[in-house]
């Protein structure tokens, strides 16, 4: 136990047993998968058409945003080159499906259906459509275990999108509550502020939305403000997630030019 806690020596054993546990996780997911398949088979034509229209509208809006984004990205790269700093390339992503949630209700973890054979590695960041979800803590051959940002043992570095104030965002063990640690009384944080990842922790990619501040409590007796935040990702409703690889630095390329 001590070995496992303090070192990586028993990882191969864990990995080997992972070959047996993976099918069990897949099997345990089967009732849910069959239920989803059955309900997707029983959708009415009108519903499908409505869905399609909604999606087309959404694509239109998103495409318009992408057009702007391309210009902004190019501009950003140029500005960074002017400043002689490194630019981050688009990170490669991998889609995965959640096939199991942690049976122990006191831990916020889930199991996804991609493992090292698909290129997943320990420490990889996991997102959904809304924002950061968590990170891979244990990569088996065909499955991987993801620790959510809401787990009580998880914390990451974030900054306020509005003004760049940095703080540490820690999980609370409840699926929709996060806390900002050690925020001084005078910090410029208000309700509704979007918190994005800073990348300073060398683990999460920079600039992804993480949470939204929902409540501040100034306690005259306490040295720090109590700041509560809600994750922007749908932590307990997500069924598909994205795994993002570590951002590739473009420094050398910039140096050649």
């Amino acid at each position: 136990m001590l070995l496992d806690q303090r070192s990586d020596h028993v990882q191969p054993l864990r990995f080997a047993i992972g070959y047996v546990t993976a099918p069990i996780h897949y099997l345990a997911h089967m009732p849910t998968a069959i239920g989803e398949w059955a309900s997707s088979q029983a959708v009415s034509r009108a519903d499908l058409q409505a869905d399609r229209q909604r999606l087309e509208r959404q694509i239109l809006v998103l495409q318009q945003r992408v057009q702007r984004l391309a210009v902004l990205e190019a501009e950003n790269v140029r500005l960074r080159e002017l400043l002689n700093s490194s630019a981050e390339l688009d990170a490669r992503v991998l889609a995965a499906e959640i096939i199991g949630v942690e049976p122990d209700p006191s831990r916020q973890e889930f199991v996804i259906n991609k493992g090292t054979h698909a290129g997943v590695y320990r420490g990889q960041a996991v997102l959904d459509a809304g924002g950061l979800l968590g990170q891979v803590v244990d990569a088996g051959p065909f499955t991987a275990r993801v620790l959510l940002i809401t787990d009580a043992s998880h914390a990451l570095s974030v900054q306020v999108n509005r003004n760049g104030v940095r703080a540490i965002l820690a999980g609370s063990g409840q699926p929709d509550r996060l806390r900002l640690l050690f925020v001084p009384e005078t910090a410029d944080i208000i309700e509704g502020d979007l918190l994005v990842s800073t990348g300073l922790d060398q683990r999460f990619p920079r600039g992804y939305p993480v949470a939204e501040v929902v409540r501040l409590r100034h306690d005259p007796g306490a040295p720090f403000v109590t700041v509560e935040a809600r994750p922007t990702a749908s932590i307990d409703r997500a069924s598909h997630v994205l795994l993002v690889e570590r951002p590739v630095r473009r420094q050398q390329e910039g140096a050649e030019q």
Binding site: M1, L3, D4, Q5, V10, L13, R14, I17, G18, V20, T21, I24, H25, L27, A28, H29, P31, T32, G100, V101, E102, P103, D104, P105, S106, R107, E109, V111, V137, D138, G140, R145, A152, S153, G173
Partner: protein, 165 residues
């Protein structure tokens, strides 16, 4: 040679029951009943130790526990130690447990699974990952005791069907 072959009969059936128990351990459940999920692997282990004390013992308990550790993603050795202790105690008392009336047997199962759960809880708190008070840990043990008789029936049917000795 013949004897030895017969001795080894049915290992696949035993492993099969453990795999089914593992499946039940990670099967998604509604959150309200999540706290009362029976300790299926411990139940299966207790049954096989009592039924085949000459074959299933502490080592099996340790191996099954290690498997459960990887399955549930906790620190390696947590369930391994717990189930090894459970296997040892049931091994020591298997003759008595066999002749107990059903109700008393369930009480013993409650104590065994409760011991296992508390050991696992102790390890978990030593590692520093505990949020629920220990009373909640004993709820699964209670459910396991209630479900012991049906489980016992099913596993006995498996043992007779596949002639595991």
């Amino acid at each position: 040679m013949r004897m030895r072959e017969r001795d080894q009969q049915g290992t696949a059936a035993i492993v099969g029951t453990f795999l089914v128990a593992a499946w039940l351990t990670v099967l998604p459940l509604p959150e309200t009943v999540e706290f009362g999920r029976p300790l299926w692997l411990a139940l299966a282990l207790i049954y096989w130790v009592i039924a085949l004390p000459h074959r299933i013992g502490v080592l099996w308990g340790f191996a099954v526990g290690l498997f459960q550790d990887v399955l549930t993603g906790v620190v390696l050795g947590q369930h391994a130690v717990a189930l090894a202790v459970v296997a040892y105690v049931s091994l020591a008392a298997h003759k008595r447990i066999r002749v107990f009336p059903p109700l008393q047997q369930s009480v013993v199962v409650f104590m065994l699974t409760g011991t296992g759960a508390l050991i696992a809880y102790t390890v978990q708190s030593a590692v520093g990952r505990v949020l629920v008070p220990p009373v909640w840990v004993l709820l699964p043990a209670l459910v396991s005791a209630l479900i012991w008789r049906p489980t016992f029936g099913v596993l006995r049917w498996v043992r007779r069907r596949f002639m595991v000795r």
